[in-house]
């Protein structure tokens, strides 16, 4: 038995158990999706650092300990009050709360929605709208390409489902809260989200991952988002898992003609975090912006792999990623841009800036442009630097203490990304998180 088989065995056994007890009541199409998931997982196995896509991110700590899916809905230990702190200030918003991957109706609050909008848990959508879910689930995040997507496909319990019909605008932002508080170590949580925006639909949605435990757990999330013609979405994610956690997430955007995507990825939790974000620009006149901010310290590793696939002409894509690394932490940024042969007049811009606050922090940054069209504008730039001593001295010379001066500069560097959020209360909340973090409160709940 080789190493790989040993690693995946517990997962296969776990699936067999799930098959017998858990999902026998599910519809046939879903059972077959799950079976496909586990079979792909078996074929793919866990990647090692020999895989180009995982070169700098060693997931051995994840493979060493078999993580068991949380099949049981956790007994409600969280109170409404505990989740109140994660609100958008005075702004009203819909909130869907998932505890260890299971939807909590008691903690969620969904505002009245325009006619035809479906918003709720994926598990209930599978029952109430099977046709719609079946049409899209796994379409943009196929299990065949990615081990962790395959694993999620096999084991997911629940997640958010949002369907916005043609020309409908959802005014109030929607927040998806994923709270991890498993009772024992080694829990695996596999959230699965599906967002479908029909022609001309509009929404603002964000995912928040947070941990309320000190024990090791794995979040392995998959989100698929489809934007129809002229649809637009601002889609954010805040990863603030507990510092013993592992966070793997895949977000797949499928964009159609003249649609608009503004995406933010804020990542500062977890011992190891890997974010795969892919946007396929499958129509003309699309505007796609992927922004990100990662902040790591101690021995954290935060990895972003992004792909922007320009499949059609006349599209714009912009990417602004900033990283702040302290202690012995490591950051990885891999930004791939494909420009397909017929994607003429593509305008793609990518920037990745990194700030190393210690001598022992590391960043591996790699822009990767694969351009097969000739009439395009593609630029990229990556920088790695330290705080500007000239600027620190200037601030000091005005009476500002050295530590405060350093903090101001770090804050400014992070603010460059936070300021790109269009929704002010959201921006303010992240700003407040940032200020707290910079003042040194980095652990779990205090950090939010």
């Amino acid at each position: 038995m080789n190493r790989d088989t040993k690693e995946i065995e517990p997962y296969l056994a776990s699936f067999e158990k799930f098959e017998r007890n858990g999902f026998s009541s599910e519809p046939a199409w879903l059972r077959s999706i799950r079976q496909g998931g586990i079979s792909h997982f078996g074929d793919l196995g866990f990647p090692t650092i020999r895989h180009e896509e995982w070169k700098y991110t060693n997931i051995t700590p994840i493979t060493k300990l078999p993580f068991r899916p949380v099949f049981q809905r956790p007994a409600g230990s969280l109170t409404q009050q505990q989740t109140e702190q994660f609100t958008l200030g005075h702004l009203k918003s819909s909130r869907l709360v998932f505890v260890d991957g299971h939807y909590s109706e008691a903690l969620s609050s969904i505002l009245p929605q325009p006619r035809g909008v479906i918003m709720g848990s994926l598990a209930s959508a599978i029952k109430a709208h099977p046709g719609l879910v079946q049409q899209y689930l796994t379409r943009y995040a196929p299990a065949s390409e990615h081990t962790f997507v395959a694993l999620n496909t096999a084991f997911f319990q629940d997640g958010a489902f949002i369907h916005v019909p043609e020309q409908i605008v959802i005014e109030d932002p929607v927040r998806l809260l994923f709270i991890a508080c498993p009772s024992e170590a080694g829990a695996a949580i596999h959230p699965r989200n599906l967002v479908i925006m029909e022609k001309g639909g509009k929404a603002i949605v964000s995912e928040h991952y947070l941990g309320m435990t000190d024990s090791a757990y794995l979040t392995n999330a998959v989100t698929e988002i489809m934007l129809g013609e002229n649809a637009s979405i601002e889609y954010g994610k805040v990863q603030s898992e507990s510092l013993e956690a592992f966070h793997i997430a895949n977000i797949q955007f499928h964009l159609n003609q003249n649609s608009n995507l503004l995406n933010h990825s804020f990542s500062w939790g977890a011992r190891l975090a890997r974010n795969d974000i892919r946007a396929v620009l499958n129509g003309e006149g699309i505007n796609c912006t992927l922004n990100g901010l990662y902040m790591a310290e101690e021995r954290q590793l935060i990895d972003h792999h992004t792909v922007i696939d320009h499949a059609k002409p006349h599209c714009n894509s912009h990417q602004f990623y900033n990283g702040i690394l302290n202690g012995h932490s490591r950051g990885v940024f891999n930004g791939k841009i494909f420009v397909r042969p017929n994607a003429q007049k593509t305008d793609a811009k990518q920037t990745n800036r990194n700030l190393l606050l210690s001598d022992t922090a590391t960043i591996n940054t790699k822009p990767q442009l694969e351009i097969f069209a000739d009439d395009v504008k593609c630029t990229h730039g990556a920088t790695v630097g330290q705080l500007d001593e000239e600027a620190i001295f200037y601030l000091q010379s005005r009476g500002i203490g050295r530590e405060v001066a350093r903090r101001m500069l770090v804050y400014a560097f992070a603010g460059d990304i936070i300021n790109r959020i269009s929704l002010e209360p959201y921006r303010e909340q992240l700003d407040a998180i940032l200020v707290k973090r910079l003042e040194g409160h980095t652990r779990i709940v205090e950090s939010l």
């Binding site: 600027a391 200037y394 601030l395 010379s397 005005r398 009476g399």
Partner: protein, 253 residues
């Protein structure tokens, strides 16, 4: 107020200041003039607390305290201010936020209550008028995208807000057109009081047409070789620094 005694400073083993002696009292304006490379800017940087210099001899007393033992922020809180020759651009740090933080640090140090945002804004508006600065600059990051003249005026504006006891102006006139020069000089003059002092560092005499110094010192090869009244500046304007150089050579022989 300021007493520099036999200050010897080098960088990378090369001597730049070669035994400076200078005393500045309250209510005085001193001008330090000298050719390029004479050590003028080094002196200013040393006084403000920049790292990277080797101070091998001498002492600087500021209000009786050992200035060189203080970190830069402490010097600023004690009332020392350097108007930079090249003000630094700080992207992402809002000008008002920065200045309010600095202002309140100094207030705290002096045992005065901090000003809130409204009070501070009122103060800032009043001081801006003196420098003819456009208020929109305050909403921008510190010095970012400012023109050369705006940067210099912004330095003097900061001085107007922070109200230092000892201001050192390092080549504040360089890169200014005549109108901007007048505005800046006018601002500096208005800030002069009986209980503070100013040290103007300049290569050219023209700034001293607008800011009249009580004393003029000539810095040459790291030493003050001549001191006198305001007429010394005019003499230099007429004869140039060459005459000083020649006089020095003669003396050396």
């Amino acid at each position: 107020m300021l007493e520099i005694k036999n200050l010897v400073v080098g960088i990378d083993g090369r001597k730049i200041l070669n035994g400076i002696n200078l005393g500045v009292n309250e209510g005085e304006v001193h001008a330090i003039m000298g050719p390029n490379g004479s050590g003028k800017s080094t002196l200013a940087q040393i006084l403000a607390g920049r790292k990277g210099y080797e101070i091998t001899e001498g002492q600087v007393l500021y209000n009786g305290k050992d200035l060189l033992a203080m970190v830069p922020e402490e010097r600023a809180r004690e009332g020392l201010f350097l108007a930079f020759q090249y003000p630094v651009e700080i992207p992402g740090v809002n000008s008002t936020y920065f200045l309010k933080a600095a202002f309140n640090e100094i207030r705290k140090h002096r045992g005065l209550p901090e000003l809130d945002a409204m009070e501070f804004l009122a103060l800032v508006k009043e001081r801006m008028k003196v420098l003819h600065l456009d208020q929109s600059l305050l909403n921008r990051p510190v010095n970012e995208g400012f023109s050369g003249g705006e940067k210099k005026r912004n330095e003097i504006f900061q001085m107007a807000v922070l109200e230092p006891r000892l201001a050192i102006l390092d080549e504040t006139d360089s890169g200014l057109d005549i109108d901007a020069l007048r505005t800046v000089a006018d601002g500096v003059n208005k800030l002069k009081r009986q209980d503070n002092a100013q040290v103007i560092i300049t290569h050219y005499q023209r700034l001293l047409n607008y800011i009249i110094p009580d004393f003029v010192h000539v810095l040459f090869e790291g030493r003050i070789v001549r001191s006198g009244g305001k007429e010394l500046a005019l003499e230099l304007e007429t004869n140039g620094y060459d005459s000083i150089a020649q006089a020095e050579k003669l003396q050396a022989h």
